[in-house]
Symmetry: none
Subunit: 210 residues, 4 copies
DNA sequence: CTCTAATCGAGACGGTACGTCGCGTCTTACG
DNA sequence: CGTAAGACGCGACGTACCGTCTCGATTAGAG
């Protein structure tokens, strides 16, 4: 994959105007993502919503995708920052549950990020960050390349979350929270299908340990 | 997801010229997919390679994606047709191994389908067919919605295959089959990470049974 | 001057659609030229008036200037076609008078061509055609390079005509034909200031000869 | 013509920094004019060459054209200041000859002013100054409006000078002074084609008188 | 010889038009 | 008379400049 987006991230600018424009663009994107899929957005639409000039967009991001990657990177950082510590402090199921709870609390945002045309880019960013965090970690299984473990774990998690978020309701129907699964249910599924096979552990065993 | 591609499939045409055009287009797409990612192809490019007129494309497919879905559907049908019977006849590991062998034998084709811009559409088509085959099947676990089982199993399999195919060589380096993993290794990974947790079985137990 | 516009002329297209588009664009330009100066027109404005697509413009002309040169070339051809024969058939004053009459009859058009931002391009096209007609002609005076004679004669004529047309009324006031000079008056001025010194002849002598 | 440039002239500033910036801008323009046509220059380019800030330009001139008009006005003032006195002191041919000599001595500068994209503006400024000097002067001929006499005389002179300067060499060939016409030759042409018809005099008669 | 205010550089900003590109439709001319 | 070739309307793209603006930093010239 040669479309690395890492280089597209910008460090925080010092000029107050740049900060304002940057925030306006990211907020506009988040707002629009809840209205229509990412790939149906135009840059003109984003800048119009942000209240900035069209050309200003390109002073901050080279492409629409770069803006999305920036936005996604922040959200993912936030999400991982909340779940990883628990992973080390407690156990994998607790961490998984916390992940599901957080996503559930920001369902609209994550639905936009994971179920629209943005999914591919968000997924890549997610995996990139996960790979970054996993650097130096030894795989638990001799038969499993460590990067594949991370890629599979992250990707499969995203898929299951995307399925969950898509259940809640698509654009054409009202959201019916009652018919959706609870964070605990999804965490269980996620743990049994993805996490446990990777870490070679079971929820039950962990529960006993905890 | 409203971008259903099911309706885009065409019945097999009877007119000989239509058959010829159709084949020329699909062959051209397959050839071009090995040169550059799907989303960098233009319809003009495909028709030029196919030797057909530009407008002719639209007499067969409404969009570029429809052509890809058509091509992918055939390949997926072929692949599933070879692995599913084994699943029933023998066991899940044998089926997984057969899957990996088949992909390995057509590595170039599947690399194009799974690691370029085409991945999203191929993935959707794959899941669609898998869901179709799984209709009526009861989930093996009460905590797992059956459609999610299929979606996760298919998606995770594709991810792992894509990782495998991307290992073999990107555009910049020659393909080094020696340095890649063998079909058996990948089948083992796939089975342990994805299949076994789904079917609640282990390769070892199956091997013992077989 | 390296911005030769000769190469920008296109031969008449055969396709009926091209003819229609071409005519729509030239007519739109002529119409707009009577409303505002050439350099304040945008290509979008021209295509909107013409009822054609924006990109279609570029399928016919590389720049706005090329379209103007095309339009001007036709008008100049028409004008020269009416005056040159008289020059040979009769004498220089009659030809000058015919020139002034023709311009007077199409005052609005020539005012747009000669007194707006278009003047420079029209002037160049005019001189180009004049030089083309004068090829092979021997200068009447040993001290006068023949191309300079043509350039000066054409340029000075255009200047005087432009002054005349600008007299009639600018954009802000109604046209007052009564206050302007008659074609005969202008022809006299033109002949005495420009033509006679060039051909070494006087109107009076010619009149006597005629 | 509402793009009067007269009002754009600024009074000489007192602040030393302003003087410095102003001079830097005019010098930069003159230098750049010898490298490429005026209309291909950007304000950013001029300020970069001048070593001033971009915004500083607008603190001195409202537009690029205003700067050119300022520069041109000075050069024209200088030129007219050298030729007009001779016109009154001696005769029209001597004045014409002095004009040609002066232009010949500053050929590069005047080539830039008269043969590039700047020509239109310089021409207008030239005519403006000529009209200013001619105010109150009575036309020598009843059939010739006095302003037209000035306009034609100035315009035609500029055209002939521009032709002369363009002979010397375009951008692609080295300047070959030997192949160009001498100031005296051009003065003769200019006098016979433009000046004499206007003042109703001939060089020969003047020479006899002198 | 200060001090204060004008001027400066730097460059981000909203805006406008540009010329390019690809799409999907529809017409044309040719074999 | 059907099919290729391709012109067309459309609309988004990314670029280039414009003229305005907001910053501190510098510096002139008045007190």
């Amino acid at each position: 994959m040669d479309t690395s987006l890492t280089g597209l991230k910008r460090e925080a600018p010092t000029d107050a105007r740049q900060v304002r424009s940057r925030n306006a663009l990211t907020s506009a994107l988040l707002a629009l993502l809840e209205e229509k899929p990412f790939d149906q957005l135009t840059i003109r639409e984003i800048t119009a919503r942000a209240g900035t000039g069209y050309a200003t967009f390109f002073r901050h991001y080279p492409t629409k995708e770069a803006l999305l990657a920036d936005v996604a990177a922040h959200e993912i950082e936030d999400l991982l920052g909340r779940t990883i510590p628990i992973l080390y402090a407690s156990n994998s199921y607790e961490s998984t549950l916390e992940l599901c709870r957080h996503v559930h609390e920001h369902a609209l945002l994550w639905a936009a990020l994971l179920t629209g045309g943005a999914a591919g880019i968000v997924r890549e960013e997610f995996i990139r960050q996960a790979l970054g965090l996993a650097v130096g970690t030894q795989s638990r299984h001799p038969w499993l390349p460590s990067d594949l473990g991370t890629i599979h774990g992250t990707g499969a998690t995203i898929d299951i979350l995307a399925w969950w978020l898509a259940q809640g309701g698509d654009k054409t129907s009202a959201i019916r929270p009652g018919s959706a699964h609870s964070p605990a249910e999804v965490a269980t599924i996620l743990h049994r299908l993805v996490i446990a096979p990777l870490v070679g552990d079971t929820m039950e065993r962990q529960a006993a340990t905890a």
